[in-house]
């Protein structure tokens, strides 16, 4: 048997579907230049293709057809040589299908495999977000914001070409940078030469750091057991989520407000690329965020504030848009957070500390993650990304 290569591309549904597909296709085409057969496929479904929901594409390549068939006999590869995350917030984990629980971003990586992430963050922050792994793996960062390249009217920012250059660097056995460039030129007659240059620049610049087993997020990813058919209620009937209960003030012990019960098994921690940060000192308790939130994520506190619950927030930004008080609610990129704790509780416990945390967090507010603040923002950013791609 020959050698089998597997690469997964983890992306956010809808926004990055074509980007992920373009990468997995490009992998197969570049490998084909070296006589290696391969296939490119995605897991489709309803939920994974909704806005922002994590999803995956795969490329399987082998040194010969028989070996390729061994790889194709499984729907999803059980282990991969390279994991590509085209949105750095996905490094916190992947929950693409509700009942799978949380999959660490590096779960499928073989020992010594490489995680390639597009990010403006440095390796320290990425390592901190990803779960610990029992064996060492490598991390490479391709500088950039989450790309929408390939989506409908959005312009090409060469993210796919740059990822290809990075793969050629970290896994030269799969294909050379020459093959990558040749395949790019063939696929894109118009801009192929420029894209091939972007691939080469990424190849030249890509470096890796080794992540040791002791590094990374220490939490055990939440998981659960799927019931047997005899244990399930018949008729596709599932018990409703209970109504909810009062909240307790961590300082005074006062009871009041209302916290709805939420789905015990499907959390929205990872469907989110940004989250609201609330300034409780300027909040006028107008209720608009609570009313407008499509996911009912706001808990009503005993003192009448609205606390965005991170188990339920999907990061849409409607609250920020509807809040009538300037800078009372600010959406901040998920990479800025290490936990899902209640902001209101932190504020109740220690107001000065909360205020300085708030100021610092909002000051580092990214220009965007997946939420755009105005129409046409993405198009404006493409030239900058292309500049990074060509120069570095």
């Amino acid at each position: 048997m020959g050698r089998l290569f597997a690469v997964e591309i983890v992306y956010r549904g809808i926004f990055q579907k074509n980007l992920a597909k373009n990468i997995s296709r490009a992998i197969v085409l570049a490998a084909h230049k070296e006589g290696k057969p391969g296939i490119s496929f995605g897991r489709y479904g309803d939920s994974p293709e909704r806005n922002g929901i994590p999803a995956k594409s795969f490329a399987i390549v082998a040194t010969d057809d028989v070996t390729l068939e061994e790889g194709m006999a499984k729907y999803e590869p059980q282990e991969v040589d390279v994991t590509i995350s085209v949105d750095d917030t996905l490094c916190k984990g992947v929950e693409s299908w509700a009942w799978y629980g949380l999959q660490p971003i590096n779960r499928l990586l073989k020992p010594g495999g490489t995680l390639i992430v597009t990010s403006l963050e440095g390796p320290e922050r990425i390592i901190e977000m990803a779960h610990r792994k029992e064996h060492p793996y490598k991390l490479a960062i391709v500088k950039g914001t989450p790309s929408f390249s390939g989506l409908w009217v959005y312009k090409d920012d060469h993210t796919d070409a740059r990822i290809m250059g990075a793969i050629a660097k970290v896994l030269p056995e799969l294909f050379s940078i020459g093959s990558v460039q040749e395949a790019i030129r063939e696929e894109d007659k118009k801009n192929g030469e420029l894209k091939a240059t972007s691939a080469l620049r990424a190849f030249e610049r890509t470096t890796t750091v080794t992540v040791a087993p002791a590094q990374g997020n220490n939490e055990t990813p939440y998981a659960f057991k799927l019931p047997k058919w005899t244990e399930m209620r018949e008729g596709i009937a599932i018990p409703a989520i209970a109504r909810g209960h009062q909240m307790t003030d961590p300082e005074t012990g006062a009871q009041g407000g209302f916290q709805p019960e939420r789905n015990a098994t499907f959390k929205k921690y990872l469907t989110r690329t940004m989250r609201p940060v609330v300034n409780f000192d300027t909040c006028i308790k107008c209720t608009l965020c609570w009313l407008a939130c499509p996911d009912s994520c706001f808990d009503v506190t005993p003192d009448g504030f609205y606390d965005a619950n991170m188990a339920a927030c999907c990061g849409c930004g409607v609250c920020e848009a509807i809040c009538p008080v300037e800078k009372c609610i600010t959406m901040v990129n998920e990479t800025a957070f290490t936990d899902n704790a209640s902001q209101w509780e932190a504020w109740r416990k220690e107001k000065p500390a909360y205020e300085s945390w708030l100021v610092a967090t909002i000051a580092n507010r990214p220009e965007r993650s997946h939420g755009f603040r105005y129409r046409g923002q993405y198009e404006e950013q493409v030239p900058d990304v292309l500049k990074v791609a060509q120069q570095g």
Binding site: S47, W99, W229, M232, R233, E234, A237, I238, P239, A240
Partner: protein
């Protein structure tokens, strides 16, 4: 002394009466006796006769139910599906392409364990727009978890409707049941039918109890959330287990029916006619039983030992029982009032199922398939005799074609 004929609905609740009614009217009377809560309707011949009779019962104040005329069959079946989910006993029905238009609703009903009872006034599928009987409409759901039963007279239609409610609503089953009534031959033919007293029906048919699957504010549940491959096989297996338990419940129910109503149907799954000493048998479903039985009697006079097996329950299919019975004969002929183009040996659906049922059997007589009576074409006595002659020849070891179209101009 002959019993006095009275209209089917003006009755003393304690006494049985005899009425001259059609198969469709018999089903409508069964709905009244079963105290059905929600009925939806959309006209298509020949099923529409049932909705007319039910409408009359409701407007005469003889029946208390929600009677909803939908804007099409898809809505018609969706409405009763939801009504059943909140705990209502429901009735619905259609014919031919109307049944097919409801297909999406028919598909989702078994998995949700909705014990809907429906009447299919069997009708040829369009095109062409023929009105007469063909069984392809009801048979289109044969793989989906619907219980399917065929009847051949108005009395059996009434009795089977009551039986269908009890079987479908048994918590061990909780699957929908469609009663097939041949268009015209049964839906539009009046016959003398014994209408049981309400007291007997009440003793036979308990209230529908949906238990923990009932949509109700006191039992907050979500029904039919989107689920992926992690769940689907378990859900299908659950539905299958309901169908697996159905034969036992059917047997139990027919036994109770006999005790309470004093009428016996023998083996619930299929009727046997002059099979005790038969050399060969014909197998079929529905009202073609009449010409078949008459022709058999005539052939008996000529010393030809032909019998008849009329299949009632097509789903669940009594494969083992039927194989044991059919294994006794020297040849078997299956008459299909349906077609299954491109199927094994170009046969009909029933012939293919019977052949599959016989496969594990030690005694596998030659099986000869016939396609007959499509679109309501009459199956005549000479037709039956022709088919019988062919299976008699097969019994003598003379091979016959696997499938022959009968009564065709050629």
């Amino acid at each position: 002394m002959a019993e006095a004929l009275v209209p089917p609905t003006k009755r003393d609740p304690a006494a049985d009466k005899t009425s001259l009614i059609t198969g469709s009217e018999a089903i409508a009377v069964a709905c009244k006796l079963a105290d059905v809560d929600v009925i939806t309707a959309y006209p298509i011949r020949p099923y529409d006769t049932v909705m007319q009779y039910v409408a009359k019962l409701v407007s005469n104040g003889e029946m208390d139910c929600e009677y909803i005329v939908a804007e099409g069959e898809h809505s018609q079946f969706e409405i009763v599906k939801h009504a059943s989910a909140v705990g209502a006993r429901v009735f619905c029905g259609s014919s031919g392409v109307g049944w097919m238009y409801a297909m999406e609703a028919l598909t989702v009903t078994p998995a949700l364990r909705i014990p809907m009872v429906a009447m299919v006034g069997n009708r040829a599928l369009d095109d062409p727009g023929a009105f007469g009987v063909e069984h392809n409409d009801a048979l289109a759901v044969r793989d989906l978890g619907w219980q399917l039963v065929w009847v051949d007279n108005a009395q059996e239609a009434l009795d089977t409707a009551l039986i269908a409610y009890r079987v479908a609503e048994d918590r061990r089953v909780f699957l929908p049941c469609a009663i097939s009534c041949d268009g015209a031959f049964l839906t539009h033919s009046q016959a003398l039918v014994k209408i049981p007293s309400q007291a007997k029906v009440d003793a036979f048919l308990p209230r529908y109890n949906r238990g923990d699957l009932q949509l109700h504010p006191d039992n907050p549940i979500s029904v039919a959330p989107q689920a992926n491959e992690d769940w689907l096989m378990e859900i299908r297996r659950q539905t299958a287990s309901g169908m697996e338990r159905s034969p036992g419940v059917i047997r139990e129910t027919y036994a109770d029916f006999e005790k309470i109503f004093g009428r016996s149907y023998g083996n619930p799954f299929f009727e046997q006619y002059m099979t005790d000493d038969a050399d060969v048998v014909l197998v079929g479903m529905g009202t073609l039983s009449t010409p078949v039985k008459v022709a058999i009697r005539q052939m008996r006079a000529e010393g030809k030992k032909v019998g008849f097996v009329r299949v009632r329950w097509f789903r669940p299919f009594a494969a083992k029982d039927l194989a044991e019975t059919l294994g006794r004969f020297k040849a078997v002929g299956v008459i299909d009032r349906d077609f299954s183009l491109g199927s094994p040996y170009e046969g009909g659906i029933l012939a293919t199922e019977v052949r599959a049922a016989l496969y594990p059997s030690a005694n596998r007589p030659p099986l000869v398939g016939f396609i007959a009576g499509l679109g309501g074409r009459e199956v005549t006595l000479p037709d039956v005799k022709k088919m019988s002659e062919m299976i008699l020849r097969a019994a003598e070891g003379k091979p016959q074609p696997a499938t022959t179209w009968i009564g065709l101009r050629e």
